[in-house]
């Protein structure tokens, strides 16, 4: 029984990280209708930046917030300089640009920080809590991971639901022309969408950094599982990203625990196809899809 609890707790903390990455995919899909393959590369760069800041300044939290700010900046710059140019054209072009960006980011990281991965500090101790004789697979850092992701998701939910800025962003995402007629600067909203998404990605990078170490290619698997979670939950709904991430995290942990590590990627495929057969637009997307 304790093994089941261990696997569940492990699934929750991994699921939270997949959810944060899924949130990044959802925010970008809602804002600019682009699947951002460079998400893994962007969060890798910001985590490298954090690592350099931490090692030079010696303070973890300075590195933490610098990474989030770098995420905001990187997202805005990528949208404004690149994605905007290909936004009007065929949708596949934007996808290919993000693939090119992914390759470029991994190469740049290799040049600046070398291909050898480096250690990344956790915010809190990773030692599991001991209850009675058994030490559980859930320590202070895992608690922080879950709280940080839930906190950021809530903050975004509040931003979208309650603030004027959130209203303008949603209007730009759903009906750009009508939004312009209400005085909304749609271009800025798209940039903000990418910036917030990239910040969500940076948070995921900070949280999973200690677990995968920081290297140019170390974040690719988490980006792939994050995208799978986003599709699972439905690309139009931030809530779907959270639930999709959790479902994926838990199921992969159980599969790896009970069936064996080699089945993990096959399990991800099976889960996604099963859900999509029942709900072709993900769990939480309304049937009414927006006409492009």
């Amino acid at each position: 029984m304790t093994r089941f609890i261990d696997l569940t707790l492990n699934g929750i903390s991994n699921g939270a990280i997949y959810a944060a990455v899924a949130l990044a995919f959802v925010l970008i899909w809602r804002a600019t209708r682009v699947v951002n393959f460079a998400a893994g590369g962007m969060l890798m760069i910001t985590t490298f930046v954090a690592s350099s800041v931490i090692s030079s300044s010696g303070s973890y939290w300075l590195g933490f917030f610098v990474a989030l700010a770098a995420g905001l900046l990187l997202g805005a710059v990528v949208e404004r300089l690149l994605i905007r140019r290909v936004e009007g054209g065929p949708p596949l072009n934007a996808v290919i640009v993000t693939i090119g960006l992914l390759i470029l980011f991994e190469a740049i990281a290799g040049m600046i920080w070398s291909n050898t991965p480096r250690s990344f500090p956790p915010a809190f101790s990773i030692k599991g809590y001991t209850v009675g004789s058994h030490t559980y697979l859930f320590g202070p850092f895992d608690v922080f991971t879950v709280l940080a992701v839930v906190g950021m998701a809530t903050a975004l939910l509040v931003l979208f639901r309650l603030t004027d800025l959130g209203l303008m962003m949603r209007a730009s995402a759903f009906e750009p022309v009508v939004a312009r007629l209400q005085g909304v600067r749609v271009g800025n909203m798209l940039t903000l969408g990418w910036a917030l998404a990239s910040m969500a990605g940076s948070l995921a990078g900070l949280l999973i950094g200690p677990q995968v170490f920081v290297g140019p290619n170390n974040f690719d698997p988490v980006a792939i599982f994050g995208f799978t979670a986003a599709v699972l939950g439905g690309l139009d709904s931030p809530l779907g990203a959270l639930v999709g991430g959790l479902i994926l995290g838990l199921s992969l942990s159980y599969v790896s625990g009970y069936a064996g590590a080699s089945l993990v990627t096959l399990a991800a495929l099976a889960i996604l196809v099963a859900v999509l057969m029942v709900r072709p637009s993900g769990l939480f997307t309304s049937a009414r899809a927006r006409r492009i």
């Binding site: 093994r3 050898t116 250690s119 990344f120 030692k127 030490t135 697979l137 200690p210 790896s256 590590a261």
Partner: protein, 430 residues
């Protein structure tokens, strides 16, 4: 209008195809006496390495270190008056690229020999090609037994000790020193891990109560470690690459699971593993989590500055490859390069490719290795064993006697070989 233009497009397409293909066709044909790639004053050798991609960490340091060693030897006049030029290309640990890259080295760059091709899944794809082209394929950087068969692959030679040999030597030590203790094995799900497990099983048999594999692309190893802890393993043997040694250490620390640790020499390099654990040491030494771990060594420890080889390698590193950290991978590259230079020296004044192969088969190499090589006409495996060592305050400290054996059922015997000094064999001066 449509028809003529579509034909025009066709014309444009085909002549452009021709131009592109021809343009790349003009390879650099090297002048050659008896074999390609070798002249009076220089010899060209090539290699395929994972410089980028998921397998790059650690392994990407090996080739630059070897190149630095050759630069040092060339600065001293090279071998038999010949400078050794090494070109290594990136295959990103993808077998399709390996085939393309190696064929380019052989057919276009016309290298004299291939040195240190890295990776079992990649090199197994080109070993047949290299043998059919009769290109010496010296010192493959992989411990798979696939390179041992001299009759099947007459031009291919291993270098590092075979994984099964390592497993046997570690297994014997655990059997003698931890009799009756339950043993758990955490291993990579490929030739490296399975070879090690086979060696361990030969020695420990039913003493192994649990063996859990991992996939290099899945970094969440918590399910495996909890299973091993649950099975009550008191001794844990890691046949892992450095990143996964670190991940296992972190998960065990998280679970408060403190078994007696043993790690294959592939995954124990204190500088690399310590570097990955640095952020978690909180003041204590980086290598706190691997303190007291048992391992096997066939080369002197990179931190043992009293050893003449380490002093030489450190000097070369500081002069030609300073940016890279001085760790086990750098030492591996330089030691393997030294053996290549030694083989080239023994191959005589004007060696053909066959002379080089014969020189290696004659064997009798001494160098930084703690144990002898196993090279014979038919047996092409490299080092024949290793010496048990433990991690004492972050350094690999050898103990007992170097042991030699074969990957099969053969007994494990003590080797009486003394480690050579830098000046011997006249290959390189300190």
């Amino acid at each position: 209008m449509m028809k003529t233009r579509s034909r025009a497009m066709l014309g444009v397409a085909s002549c452009l195809t021709a131009a592109a293909l021809v343009a790349s066709g003009c390879g650099s044909g090297g002048g050659s006496s008896t074999s390609p790639g070798i002249t009076k004053t220089s010899v060209l050798i090539g290699s395929h390495q994972p410089l980028t991609g998921p397998a790059a960490p650690g392994y990407s340091e090996i080739a630059p270190a070897a190149k630095a060693f050759f630069q040092y030897v060339n600065a001293q006049g090279g071998v038999n008056g010949r400078k050794i030029n090494l070109i290594y290309k990136d295959d990103g640990y993808n077998p399709t690229n390996t085939v393309t890259v190696v064929k380019q080295l052989v057919l276009q760059n016309k290298v004299f020999a291939i040195w240190g091709g890295l990776g079992t899944p990649t090199h197994t794809k080109v070993v047949d090609f290299l043998n059919s082209e009769k290109v010496p394929d010296l010192f493959v950087s992989s411990g798979c037994p696939c390179w041992d068969d001299g009759t099947k692959h007459p031009y291919t030679f291993g270098w590092q000790p075979n994984y099964t040999i390592e497993g046997k030597i570690l297994g014997q030590y655990i059997k003698n020193n931890f009799a009756g203790k339950k043993v758990g094995v955490f291993y990579q799900d490929d030739d490296f891990g399975q070879g090690g497990l086979a060696g361990l099983k030969q020695q420990l048999g039913s003493q192994i109560v649990v063996a859990k594999p991992y996939q290099p692309t899945v970094t969440n190893v918590a399910p495996q470690i909890t299973a091993i802890q649950k099975a009550g393993a008191q001794v844990l043997v890691d046949f892992t690459i450095p990143a996964f040694t670190a991940l296992e250490r972190l998960t065990s620390f998280k679970l408060g699971y403190k078994p007696q640790l043993a790690v294959s020499n592939v995954g124990i390099d204190p500088t690399t593993v310590g570097g990955l654990l640095k952020a978690f040491s909180k003041g204590k030494a980086n290598t706190a989590l691997i303190e007291g771990a048992i391992t096997d060594a066939y080369l002197p420890s990179p931190t043992d500055t009293s050893n003449s080889w380490i002093q030489l390698f450190k000097k070369i590193h500081d002069q030609y490859d300073a940016k890279a950290p001085f760790d086990g991978n750098v030492e591996y590259g330089m030691a393997s390069a030294y053996t290549f230079a030694q083989a080239l020296k023994n191959a005589g004044k004007n060696p053909s490719r066959q002379d080089l192969v014969d020189a290696v088969e004659k064997g009798g190499f001494t160098g930084p290795g703690l144990v002898p090589f196993r090279y014979t006409k038919t047996q092409h495996g490299g080092f024949g064993g290793g010496q048990i060592a433990t991690i004492k305050n972050g350094q690999i400290v050898t103990q007992g006697q170097p042991m030699v054996t074969d990957p099969g059922g053969g007994a494990i015997t003590v080797s009486n070989m003394k480690q050579a000094q830098v000046g011997d064999n006249g290959v390189v001066k300190p």
